[in-house]
Subunit: 186 residues, 2 copies
């Protein structure tokens, strides 16, 4: 089974974005960016929510095209449709989400990059489908915004796999999820 | 001027407590606890909100008595009154909060321990009255609960002063607050 890795930048207070979806304030240069770009090479598949995908439009992404050219994309949305859909880009309707995720995990291949956002992460977390968590912890407080797991009601413990502290104050924290039965709400 | 240090345990996703105020899941033993208890000796004054103070009742604190015997206590509440109030324990009504805080900061003495909770921290943060932040970052996800700054709408940058990583996965992260004028909402 392939692991799903939720790999995401957060503020020190647990937000992946401001309320409007923007990410101003995250440290955008330095060795942690180089490491992140290298880590992305290890994923051949990415899953993401609609808002996360559409956020790429602000950075030049065209609708229906892959945000990461070397990856297959699975975008979760009930309403999204593309006039020009690249063959690496697939839409998942919500009633097919779990079936599709289980199929993807059963494939042979790299770990799967869960790119965001919080709503999708919450859904997958509560189904115990996230295997690892890589946080790029930024030394900044957002105060409010889109939360790492969108207010999931579950508590989970984490087992540290790797920790890297960069000179610019960013940390890369890599954990394995530790699921216990009492945490499951589904 | 004495510094106000918000010194608090958080989950990796930015919560200081579960929705009911409990803190089950934080790592409760290990070297970080020894260090924390030693750090408490460096404070002669603590300020806290009512809920934070009353949470101590579950651990044997009697109403009106000091939670930390060597500190003067300032508890922020408009409605709290004690039948038996220790002379180290003072109540601050909300309309006196800022005046009292400014007076305390102007005194000669140790840094001031802001014990919590999120609501009081938010108020003081938005008035730029918190000087430092010490996070005991726990390798656990709470998912929801009482947030570090209770959903403050402000963004703040942090300057790292010290970082200690413990074998049990807890980190002690010590930052100076970096206030910029555009972040002030008051």
């Amino acid at each position: 089974m392939r692991a799903i890795i939720y790999h995401v930048a957060t503020s020190l207070d647990g937000f992946i974005a401001h309320p409007d979806g923007s990410t101003q304030g995250f440290v955008e240069s330095g060795e942690h960016v180089t490491d992140y770009l290298n880590q992305l090479k290890d994923y051949d598949t990415t899953i993401m929510g609609r808002k996360t995908y559409e956020y790429g439009y602000e950075f030049g992404l065209s609708p229906g095209q892959p945000a990461y050219p070397h990856m297959r994309h699975y975008i979760v949305s009930d309403h999204l449709n593309f006039d020009d859909q690249h063959d690496q880009v697939h839409l998942i309707r919500k009633n097919e989400l779990l079936k599709t995720i289980h199929s993807l995990k059963a494939e042979i291949g790299s770990p799967i990059y869960l790119c965001g956002g919080g709503q999708l992460a919450k859904t997958l977390l509560e189904q115990q489908l996230i295997d690892e968590l890589i946080i790029k912890l930024n030394p900044v407080l957002f105060g409010s915004g889109i939360h790492l797991f969108d207010g999931s009601c579950c508590r989970f413990e984490l087992k540290e796999l790797q920790k890297v502290s960069y000179d610019n104050g960013v940390q890369m924290l890599h954990y394995a999820m530790s699921y216990v039965n009492e945490s499951v709400t589904v």
